[in-house]
Amino acid sequence: MKLDDVVQIRDGVNGGSISAAEVAEAALRCIEALDGRLKAFISVQPERVRARAREVDLQVRDGKTPLPLAGVPVAVKDNISVKGMRTTCGSRILENYIPPYSATAVRLLEEAGAVLVGKTNCDEFGMGSSTENSAFQTTCNPYDPERVAGGSSGGSAACVAAGMASLALGSDTGGSVRQPSSFCNVVGLKPTYGRVSRFGLVAFASSLDVIGTIARSPRDAAVLLAVVAGRDEHDSTSATIPVADYLGEMEKPVRGLRIGVPKEFFDPGLEAEVKTLIEAALANAASLGCDLTEVSLPHTRYAIADYYIIAPAEASSNLARYDGVKYGSRTPGVRDLAEMYFRSRSNAFGAEVKRRIMIGTYALSSGYYEAYYGRAMRVRTLIRRDYERAFENVDVLMAPVSPTPPFKIGEKVDDPLAMYLSDIYTVTANLAGIPAISVPCGFTSGGLPVGLQILGRHFEEDTILRLAEHYTRAFPVSPRPLLI
């Protein structure tokens, strides 16, 4: 059984032609066969998965209304809390942490009849672009196991690409859903900031974090978003704006849609083969009857510097909670409280997390706050205004996701700044808070996947999903065999 069509699975389970138990077994078999090599999951509890699938089957049998995700196997990034399931954030400090409550997005998934198959690997607390900063393992790219699956939601993207789950939740602070989706040839959506509740998402940078969806098609991404989106009283930053009818909107035409092409996203850093594929995608979009025009986002040149002040500053504050008192690991044999803080944090945080806590602490420290964080939050306004100005004349933007195809494991691990620069085309959507999606647009001559990014106005997920669906229907990327 293939797990790549969510609507088929949920209609089959709702209609009784297949059971959630059969679907769950198919997912577990695939995980058993592939995950030893792929390393997409940090934890899978097969008995829990089977019990949950039986529960869904009973619920469907007794229920009157069909469930929107009946029996659909969903993987959840390991920085999203699931009650009673270990949630590590890819960190030693939370190695044995068992959340006493579920994230709102997880609760909504379960109410919709989804079966959670496991918790996926990620860079520690989401800080990274390759999962190499996970304390436990590095996820391989299913199209080339010597290369990274991307990050930080690399496990979520790889497991959907390999068919181990139909859908996955990730989180996107600076590109962490879109970049691994691009690297693994799947669809990754970062919604508008506030569209999906962050309650139960372990905080990294609170003004940038958003839970995103990973799927095999824009349609499946829309089904998942419709379930998890909406106002939540547990997250004061979640938006009250009504959730759009994503599937209905998807059927409307795209002819006449105005697409802006931001010239700053086609800089010398963009690799030639990626550029060729994106330019072909732009021509494809024009052939659908869309009107393309060049636009300018002049403050893009400040984006990486801006992001690497704001995100570490907020992280240094959020990660102060790991003090060895309430949860997380504590180093034993210490003399006093202060030593306990120092030892527990220093022993359990990884190198990149410590580096970002240090940068963030500096940027927020007395005398420097206004020069760094204050200034960065103002530059952020300039970046947001660039987008608002562009969206006065166009409906969406089209651009690359990442300047390169998936890179080799180990290639950038010793050069944090090089790793940071690979986020150049994704961070601005987080800084501006707008929605953006990565859709497959082809393979390099070496057989590596490349994603196309579509960005939209605040809360216009329906528009980018509609264009993504029309695009992928008209120009499907011919499947390639996985090399795992």
Binding site: I98, Y308, D336, R378, R380, L431
Partner: protein, 105 residues
């Protein structure tokens, strides 16, 4: 003291002080490597000083103004919160109704 962004070179002593604030400890070699990396990152973010932010308000909620920001105060009603046993469930050293820590002074 409010130092401008133009003075962005960082000494090892300063990095040691920041580690103290962040409650992190590093070996001598780690501290040397960290100081060098710190400098590289600060050199890079120096680009921000070129941006003209005169009169520009900071953005904290990136989707505010697009209909997202609401006075998000809930009604003042009592509701069930996390039971104490659950709140203590992950503590490295829980007491019956409290978290135990090493001596403070």
């Amino acid at each position: 003291m409010n130092r401008g962004i133009e003075e962005m070179s960082i000494s090892r002593t300063e990095v040691v002080k920041i580690a103290e604030l962040a409650k992190l400890e590093f070996s001598e070699e780690e501290m040397d490597a960290l100081t060098a990396r710190f400098q590289r990152i600060l050199d890079y973010v120096e680009a921000l000083k070129e941006a003209n932010v005169e009169g520009v308000e900071p953005t904290s909620h990136a989707a505010s103004g697009a209909g997202a920001a609401v006075p998000a105060l809930r009604d003042d009603v009592i509701h069930r919160s996390l039971p104490a046993a659950d709140a203590l469930g992950n503590a490295p050293d829980p007491g019956s109704d409290h978290f135990r820590v090493p001596k403070v002074i």
